[in-house]
């Protein structure tokens, strides 16, 4: 029953029609939320007692870092669906998410490095959190290269899905690195089980920037998947009607 449901609603043609309808709404809502959140975070929130104004990088760094890991989990989920139920759309999504994941991980690494200069006195440290995030970035690039190196797309999809699932072991390592090892990177300020260690005046714009950034990244995933689907299905008659 699940298989029938997935196959019925996860055809590339249906997917494109649905995301085309939702795209403008997601884009303009997310952009508005993100711009307000960044204005609020960078110009309205008070100065931090310990870090001074450099803490404002949190509104740009944390959403990127959160999304870079979430996208990989999304890829792992789509890979599992592809391997179990052979849903073609899932394979397309895995390949489409990878470059967006690489971009967000790049932002997380660069913004973290710049934030490190005034707070740690160095832009780079061989720290467990930073290394595991760098590994995530290299994994994203490796997955893109691997898929593109195949001439047979079906084989490439299968290998990519397996590698994504194997590589997902890195996500809990990134998350727990600040707990398992003594790191320069601070431990999480926001957890599900405990009260946040950040003052509400700084916390609300952080939530807003995370929501806005997530929406914009969803839009990028939609564009990336659209490009990939059109490229892979270009010989199908419905694609000619669609464009």
């Amino acid at each position: 029953m699940i298989k029938k449901f997935i196959h019925q609603f996860a055809s590339p043609k249906t997917y494109l029609k649905q995301v085309d309808k939702a795209y403008s709404f997601i884009f303009f809502t997310s952009l508005s939320i993100y711009l307000i959140a960044i204005f609020w975070g960078l110009l309205l929130t008070p100065e931090d007692f310990v870090q001074g104004h450099s803490y404002r990088i949190i509104y740009l760094h944390v959403p990127a870092s959160f999304i870079s890991q979430s996208l990989y989990l999304g890829m792992a989920f789509a890979s599992a669906i592809f391997l179990i139920w052979k849903v073609k759309l899932s394979a397309y999504l895995v390949r489409s998410i990878a470059p967006i994941g690489a971009m967000t991980t790049f932002i997380a690494l660069v913004s973290g490095s710049i934030w490190g200069i005034p707070t740690w006195g160095t832009w780079w440290a061989w720290d467990a959190r930073i290394i595991s995030t760098l590994i995530l970035f290299i994994m994203y690039l490796g997955l893109i290269s691997l898929h593109d190196s195949f001439t047979n797309n079906e084989k490439a999809d299968k290998f990519l899905a397996i590698l994504v699932l194997v590589g997902s072991v890195n996500i809990p390592i990134i998350k727990m690195s600040v707990e398992w090892w003594s790191t320069l990177h601070q431990s999480a300020s926001i957890t599900i089980t405990q009260k946040p260690a950040i003052d509400p005046s700084m916390l609300y714009p952080l939530f807003a920037s995370a929501i806005g950034f997530t929406g914009l990244v969803i839009c990028l995933v939609i564009l990336s998947s659209k490009l990939h689907i059109l490229d892979r299905e270009r010989n199908k008659s419905w694609v000619k009607d669609y464009v």
Binding site: L43, L44, E47, H53, S54, I57, S111, L220, K240, V243
Partner: protein, 57 residues
Amino acid sequence: MFNFAFSSISEAILMESQNGQNHGIYVWSVFFIVFGALILTFCIYKNKIRNLSKKIK
């Protein structure tokens, strides 16, 4: 919560902290990198989709 943290534009650009350091260079660098990366990625994908659509047509 909604008061400006800076009293002038130059203060907001420099972001001089209580320890005397100017943190504006770090904050605004990250701001431009993030927005630059987002705008560039959107433009690249929009352009690629347009070109591919033309080819398919």
